[in-house]
């Protein structure tokens, strides 16, 4: 059996149904085998970055390992941003990249690049296959490593001669032998009992949960814990959807653009139970000001996350679902008390809100809010990165895990459209909606063609303010309104000191997204006035194929609430005069 055939056989044995990628010289041996492998659907994207984000969206929405296949050199380097994105957000991927002949490695051969060196710091593990006899074992290990423990991307570099070499007695290994890799699933029972007692004693307990709940499939367990204890909960961007937006204990997302109730609760709580989170700086603000009143308990499957940023009194290494299941057994039932009343008061007093005037421009928040009334409750919502992402996090009604996908840790603009495409492929029975900005969409806009040609009915909502809005917001608030290189309408004849002309700017937006959509056989729709928003959303969502809905919104809307970078969570800007 040839190396290339082993790769495809291994993928079948790992139950891979879909591969995202782009061919190239050294990978032809594998594509030759794929040609006669109907069991594996290969999605040919228009750029390798699109392929890796699509594999990522597929993985986040289905919970399966996303597989990406690219050629050497530029094919491999084009996946780098996507691999780093998946690493930061703990998404299981296997990236198969081509490599030059083993004899040519190190000679700067045509389309040679040191993929193992390039990916070392941005993947969970990586391999360069140097002997075809190791190939099956390596693929088996790669899938196991990607999906177990704290999930993450694993890269396998495949030299062309390995793909062409033959193995006499090929068998796919049944077992894995990795003495250096033993993820701890069961939390230490004594520590869990200690945590239960700490909860019983706490006056102001608070749960702070994240993507770990989703990776672990622990939603039901978490809901069970909330039922039993009524502990108020804040959920990070990566965890959104792990509990429904209208759950009575839910205070919203914490951090820089978190709700006031969530940030106040973090500041006042006396016991912080962190589960599957990593105390990201966008959540905590300056560490010496974070949760100063609280004893911190931290449950995580990755021991290196515990104590990394904050001092932890109660560390528990283990799987979120497993530990919470044990914790529910140990913890005493807790009724709503004065602390619950206090956080509910904040929730009521400081709702996240916006104003949409009947006349005047469409506000971006209104588009996202209006979507809640017309969207299928089982739809998957994928965002890009920027202001629209934060507005979606604040206003979208997320109901289920794996139904809100967003690039959190790396904050990768260009993630939205290809990830939505991957989610659509992985979930043919569900509606997939991509909420994106005019900046982010253009970073991978080539995938419109992929959507159309494959009939992925992705509904793209473009929040167009003709700005790189989040950077403009910072320039507005902290850089004396010097809008340097953030206006996407700006040309050589614009006044040097244009500080935003709002709706009065005479220049046209380029490109015309509706025309770009139509040129790609994607239906294009556009709304510019508030009364058009709901009809356009309805029309777009009902259209059977892919649709791009462009919403021209008020240009200088800011995301609030906001905690300025470097300020404690108590220092909240609300945008009100």
């Amino acid at each position: 059996m040839k190396g290339a055939e082993i790769v495809i056989d291994a993928l079948k044995r790992e139950k891979v149904k879909t591969v995202f990628g782009y061919p190239g010289g050294v990978m032809i041996p594998i594509f030759d085998v794929l040609y006669s492998t109907p069991e594996i659907r290969f999605l040919l994207t228009r750029h390798e970055q699109g392929a890796v984000h699509a594999a990522d969206g597929y993985a986040r929405s289905t919970g399966k390992v996303g597989v990406c296949m690219v050629t050497s050199g530029p094919g491999a380097t084009n996946t780098i941003t996507g691999i780093a994105t998946a690493k930061m957000d703990s998404v299981p991927l296997v990236i198969l990249s081509g490599q030059v002949h083993t004899n040519s490695i190190g000679t700067d051969a045509f389309q040679e690049t040191d993929m193992v060196g390039l990916t070392r710091s941005i993947c969970k593990h990586n391999y360069l296959v140097k002997d075809v006899n190791d190939l099956a074992k390596i693929i088996k290990e790669a899938f196991y490593i990607a999906r177990s423990g704290r999930p993450g991307p694993v890269s396998i570099d495949l030299p062309v001669n390995i793909l062409n070499s033959k193995v006499k007695n090929y068998t796919y290994p049944a077992t894995i032998n990795l003495p250096g890799y033993k993820p701890v699933i069961r939390g230490n029972p004594m520590q869990i009992e200690k945590l239960a007692r700490a909860i019983d004693r706490a006056k102001k307990p608070l749960l702070y949960t994240g993507g770990g709940i989703i990776s672990s499939g622990a939603t039901q367990t978490l809901l069970g814990l909330l039922d039993k204890t009524q502990i108020p909960i804040v959920v990070t961007l990566m965890g959104l959807g792990s509990i429904p937006y209208d759950h009575p204990c839910f205070l919203g997302m914490p951090g820089m653009h978190g709700t006031i109730a969530a940030n106040k609760a973090l500041t006042e709580c006396d016991l912080l139970i962190a589960v599957g989170v990593r105390f990201d700086d966008r959540v905590t603000g300056p560490l010496h000001t974070f949760a100063q009143q609280a004893t911190i308990a931290h449950i995580d499957i990755d021991a290196s996350e515990i104590g990394k940023n904050v001092k932890t009194c109660l560390p528990i290494v283990g799987d979120a679902g497993q530990v919470l299941t044990e914790l529910i057994k140990w913890v005493k039932p807790r009724l709503k008390d004065a602390w619950n009343e206090r956080v509910e008061y904040w929730k009521e007093k400081y709702p996240t809100q916006y104003q949409q005037k009947k006349q005047g421009p469409v506000t971006p928040q209104y588009v996202i809010d209006a979507l809640n009334d017309v969207i299928d409750p089982d739809a998957i919502v994928v965002t890009d990165v920027g202001q629209h992402q934060m507005w979606t996090a604040l206003y979208h009604h997320y109901r289920k895990p794996r139904h809100f996908l967003s690039s959190g840790g790396l904050g990768t603009m260009g993630f939205g459209l290809p990830a939505a495409m991957g989610a659509a492929l992985g979930n043919p029975d569900k509606k997939v909606i991509c909420i994106t900005g005019d900046g982010g969409l253009q970073m991978n806009i080539q995938e419109l063609a992929t959507c159309a040609i494959n009939r992925f009915p992705v509904k793209i909502i473009v929040i167009n303010n003709a700005y790189l809005g989040m950077v403009r917001q910072w320039q507005d608030l902290f850089w004396n309104k010097k809008y340097s290189q953030v206006c996407l309408k700006r040309g050589p004849d614009c006044p040097a000191e244009c500080r935003g002309m709002d709706e009065k700017c005479p220049r046209d937006y380029i490109p015309d997204f509706v025309k770009v959509a139509e040129a790609n056989s994607v239906k294009g729709l556009k709304a510019t006035r508030p009364e058009e928003v709901v009809p356009i959303l309805k029309k777009g969502l009902h259209h059977p194929g892919p649709v791009l809905m462009e919403f021209m919104v008020s240009r200088e809307e800011n995301v609030y609430p906001m905690v300025s970078a470097g300020k404690p969570l108590t220092d909240i800007l609300t945008g009100e005069e």
């Binding site: 070392r120 710091s121 250096g180 890799y181 701890v184 104590g307 990394k308």
Partner: protein, 171 residues
């Protein structure tokens, strides 16, 4: 408090293991003072011994991050443990004047160091021992005129029975 830590990392003998370790430490902002990677009695196992200058909290992170590498079997910070034998090796080239040669060789004998090459303009001496002994020797021979020296970096071994392969916590 920032102080010197010697960390023994037991790893699977996989390609690029030293690059993984040094890359990880660099990426996380830690500096390596010395590093040795060498085979062990088990052909599948390598030992990497690094010395870093860091605070205790940073060391805890370093140990956890090193443990997380897929090929790592065991990571031990031996700095506060007394049941380890720690050794280092040094070769020095001393441009010592003729009239002081006897003094130098006498000093070397005292340290159990050996002259391995004697030329008209220099003497090459080798010495092994615990790192403090090496430091002390360097200080004492400095007046003789050090032309060059090379230290191996620290290596170490537990005095007790070794633990079995495959024991590891965390990922």
């Amino acid at each position: 408090m920032v102080e010197k830590h010697t960390i023994i990392i037991t790893v699977m003998n996989n390609p690029g293991v030293l690059a993984r370790i040094s890359g990880l430490l660099f990426q996380r902002g830690y500096n390596i003072e010395s590093a040795i990677a060498a085979p062990t009695e088990d052909p599948e196992i390598y030992k990497v011994i690094i010395v870093v200058q860091e605070s205790d909290e940073h060391i805890e992170q370093i140990v956890k991050q090193l443990n997380k590498l897929i090929g790592t079997i065991r990571v031990v910070d031996i700095s506060h443990k007394d049941n380890y034998i720690v050794r280092e090796y040094i070769i020095l080239k001393l441009g010592v004047q003729q009239k002081y040669r006897t003094d130098l060789l006498e000093l070397a004998r005292h340290f159990n160091a050996h002259a391995i090459d004697i030329e008209t303009d220099h003497i090459i001496i080798e010495l092994s021992g615990n790192p403090r002994k090496i430091d002390r020797f360097i200080e004492l021979v400095r007046p003789f005129g050090i032309k060059e020296y090379v230290r191996s970096g620290e290596f170490a071994m537990s005095e007790y029975q070794k633990s079995k392969k495959g024991e590891k916590n965390g990922n």
